[in-house]
């Protein structure tokens, strides 16, 4: 991309960066949704290549990436993990880590080239010209400083307000960011706020410098779907009102389609698609965009109900669990929940965080015992009563798949040892037989045998989850409890893992309790769905039924909050 001149007259479309790439989509705006009249874009990134070099070698994170943002426009940058989205965002604000080096390309913001600009000038642009809303609201606020002071800090460093006035302005900003009782919130410390409130505080900080461009790096991926929808609604409204341009970085094409006027798709550091949101979603030109679209939980058909054979495998009755919270306050995590799981059936437990889903999962695997009155029958036997040998038999028949495959695997063990561990613990077979079984299990979860000697740190998240699934299948369980097994994975890997789980279930005739915060995922995998809220069952029924005609208003809110439900057209 070195030879590409950066003429301002033709800078309204991203440049074509290689003969093998498809031509860039140059689509005129039909609805006037984004103005192409302004000759000078607000931000223009051309042919940007960034390399990370570390001990294990160099990685080309960006390979001639292009991005153009006009004033007042919302552009979504979409890509799977490792596509270079976050590197692009960091490069624009000049905050690449020391291990990164810009090989070529240019970044022009408001007519000024940012690459090679001294740090002092960059600081003047950060916050004032370009503001960033970070991905993790918990890690991005200083835990020992009140919220109001943190908002006022941006005002102070840019000389926009000082003293008492800065404090008052901070309260106004918190109100603008949609926080109730901003005077109270301003005096709170981050730990006193919920995740959604913290994200709004970060939005207030981003708005403080009245920036021309806001870069939102996965601003809601750590939040519940309904909160996510509210925050994104609010952000869109704010940008419309103030005319601020927004770059929305996301792995979710659904979010992008709902929120952005234009979508830029990144893959392996290259811009593979760039066009109006509707066009990219309905008529993707590039195969990689299509892969992302297929990966996003789309209108997959609900699964047919399996034939019930005899007694249900699991009967849970009146489950209640009360924890002692801070200040000795009783926290009711689960409140009178009951359900059954038939043999070969998948029951999805859906709800937002703190709905009590994980507590139910831990009750079913008997990490916890329900409070008085509740009981769980597994194959007709009360699991609270099992001891010693019976407990071991129960453990063998019920296996748990964790949310984060990285933390549930001992980092010092190689994949083969991890898969073998339950076989050894349950005394299933001699060494050669166990090794043969490990190889079979690896094939079953489509884990290449060459990876069996690697440790979790040397595997990708998707591969780690395959190891975890193989490990759970090793003792030949009857019931799999899956605690959001795909939520920590990116869309493409998520689709693969969910596909693997459904395939395995049909093949092995397993029963499955599937915990999810995402109704779209539940719909794809479950036969029946139970919706939980504040520890109680809100709605229960066949998956297809709940999606067609939800009776409870809360279920409807959850359904409406699924990203992409607003604008996603049918793909087939």
């Amino acid at each position: 991309m070195t030879g590409n001149p950066a003429g301002s007259s033709e800078s309204s479309t991203p440049s074509h960066h290689g003969p093998s790439e498809p031509p860039p989509t140059r689509l005129p705006s039909r609805s006037g949704e984004f103005a192409s009249s302004a000759p000078e874009p607000l931000l223009s990134v051309r042919g940007l290549s960034v390399r990370y070099s570390g001990r294990t070698g160099a990685v080309l994170a960006l390979d001639g990436a292009n991005l153009v943002v006009r004033r007042g426009e919302t552009v979504a940058v979409v890509g799977a993990s490792g596509s270079g989205k976050s590197t692009l965002a960091r490069a624009v604000v000049g905050l690449l880590p020391p291990s990164a080096s810009v090989l070529e390309g240019e970044i022009v913001f408001g007519g000024q080239s940012l690459l090679g600009l001294p740090d002092r000038d960059l600081r003047a642009i950060r916050g004032r010209g370009i503001a960033v809303i970070p991905a993790d609201p918990a890690a991005s606020l200083n835990p020992v400083v009140p919220i109001g002071v943190q908002v006022a800090e941006t005002l102070r460093v840019h000389g926009l307000a000082r003293g008492r006035a800065a404090g008052r302005a901070a309260v106004d900003l918190l109100r603008t960011a949609g926080l109730p009782e901003p005077e109270v919130i301003a005096r709170c410390h981050p730990h006193q706020l919920s995740g959604g409130m913290r994200q709004r505080a970060l939005i207030a900080i981003a708005l403080a410098g009245r920036p021309e461009l806001i870069i939102a790096d996965e601003p809601t991926s750590a939040l519940d779907v309904t909160v996510q929808a509210r925050i994104l609604d609010h952000l869109s409204a704010l940008s419309r009102r103030s005319g601020t341009a927004v770059v929305l970085i996301t792995h979710d094409l659904g979010v992008a389609a709902d929120r952005a006027g234009r979508i830029v798709v990144l893959d392996e550091g290259r811009t593979v698609e760039d066009g109006p949101a509707a066009a990219v979603v309905t008529r993707p030109r590039d195969s990689r965009t299509r892969a992302l679209l297929a990966g996003a939980a789309g209108p997959a058909p609900a699964r047919p109900r399996p034939v019930h054979r005899g007694e249900p495998l699991v009967v849970a009755e009146n489950l209640t669990k009360v924890f002692t919270g801070p200040h000795r306050r009783a926290v009711v995590a689960v409140d009178g929940v009951g359900f059954t799981i038939a043999r070969g059936e998948t029951l999805a437990l859906v709800g937002e965080s703190a709905a009590g889903k994980s507590t139910v999962a831990r009750l079913v695997v008997r990490s916890l015992v329900p409070d008085g009155g509740g009981r769980i029958l597994f194959d007709g036997q009360d699991i609270a009563a099992v001891r010693k040998a019976e407990l071991r038999r129960f453990r063998r028949r019920v296996q748990l798949i964790f949310q984060d495959p990285r933390t549930c695997l001992d980092p010092r063990f190689c994949a083969a040892d991890l898969i073998e561990e339950p076989l050894r613990a349950f005394g299933l077979g001699e060494k050669p037989a166990r090794h043969a079984r490990v190889a079979t299990l690896a094939d079953l979860v489509a884990l290449p045998r060459s990876l069996l000697a690697r440790r979790p740190g040397e595997l990708s998240s998707g591969e780690c989850q395959r190891v975890a699934i193989a490990r759970a299948l090793a003792p030949g369980p009857d019931l799999l409890v899956c605690d959001e097994p795909a939520s920590s994975l990116d869309v493409r890997t998520q689709a693969q893992v969910l596909g693997l789980l459904t395939g395995l279930q049909d093949e092995l005739g397993l029963s499955c309790l599937f915990i999810a915060h995402d109704l779209a995922v539940a719909r794809r995998i479950a036969h029946r769905v139970v919706v939980l809220r504040h520890g109680r069952i809100i709605e229960e029924g066949a998956a297809a039924e709940i999606f067609r005609s939800p009776t409870d208003p809360y279920t409807r809110t959850l359904l409406a909050a699924i990203p992409g439900s607003g604008r996603r057209p049918s793909l087939k």
């Binding site: 695997v365 990490s367 071991r392 453990r395 063998r396 019920v398 296996q399 748990l400 964790f402 984060d404 933390t407 549930c408 695997l409 001992d410 980092p411 010092r412 561990e421 339950p422 613990a425 349950f426 975890a468 490990r471 090793a474 003792p475």
Partner: protein, 266 residues
């Protein structure tokens, strides 16, 4: 490797190698036997014939320092090995069992921690009597509480890890979880801290020897050598300076080495 780019670490590695040679085959390094008396060369300053000078009996100080290396290092390493082993047992039991045992062990550790370690070691060695072994026991005991705390903290941290929970659900028995999952994962930081403490143990044991609780003559270590030279501080500075320098250099090398290890870990 990164060694040539880090002169401090290179120096530390060379020092450790040199010390190893002194410990393993002192006769090769030392030009004279450590107890060879030479009435013709009494209290000679450092020079060509005697690198570190000679003492009041004409013994070559360099040879004496080289021959004392084994005793000095053995005491320090023994002391650390003792606090490591004791701390590991107490910490593992405390962290894994919890309950009243944890309370008992940790309150005992609190009591130990209220005393300055050197004072505690002094008390112990005063009770046990002076010998190289007793110095090691005393220093080891004085440093036991921090290790017990560290190991317990590691165990508590690791016990909450999802992979330990996963192992329980996979039918792994509690002892197997302790020794297959918790101990190996806890070991690394503990070993690094042990190396860092090696310097402190060396200082403490030398101090005890200097105060007269160390090995009885004719056995020597660096602390007793420095103590013997104390009477000649005005006329023969080298008698106290070189044994003390040996302690300083060893402590520096051990800490540099440990710090490099710790950095390499993160």
């Amino acid at each position: 490797m990164t060694l040539p780019r880090r002169p401090g670490l290179l120096l530390a590695v060379l020092t450790v190698l040199a010390l190893a040679v002194c410990v393993l085959m002192p006769d090769v390094v030392a030009p004279h036997p450590p107890d060879a008396i030479d009435p013709a060369a009494i209290l000679r300053p450092p020079g060509a014939g005697h690198l570190f000078g000679t003492d009041q009996l004409g013994r070559d100080l360099f040879s004496r320092v080289v021959h004392s290396a084994r005793a000095a290092l053995l005491v320090a390493v023994g002391a650390i090995a003792l606090s490591l082993a004791g701390g590991a047992v107490v910490g593992l039991a405390s962290g894994f069992a919890g309950g009243w045992l944890d309370g008992l062990f940790m309150r005992a550790a609190d009591v130990l921690l209220t005393f300055p370690p050197l004072l505690l070691a002094l008390g112990v060695v005063a009770v046990l009597g002076s010998s190289a072994t007793n110095v090691a026991v005393a220093v080891g005991f004085a440093n036991l509480a921090p290790f017990a705390r560290l190991v317990r903290a590691q165990v508590l941290h690791l016990r909450g890890r999802p992979y330990v929970h996963a192992a329980t659900l996979s039918g792994v028995s509690p002892p197997a979880i302790l020794f297959r999952h918790i101990v190996p994962n806890a070991a690394e930081p503990v070993v690094v801290v042990a190396l860092v403490s090696l310097g402190a143990a060396m200082l403490a044991s030398s101090s005890l020897s200097f105060l007269g609780f160390g090995p009885r003559p004719p056995a020597t270590d660096w602390g007793t050598l420095a103590a013997a030279g104390r009477d000649y501080l005005g006329s023969a500075w080298w008698l106290t300076t070189f044994p003390s320098l040996a302690v300083v250099v060893t402590v520096l090398a051990a800490t540099t080495f440990a710090r490099a290890l710790r950095k390499g870990r993160s």
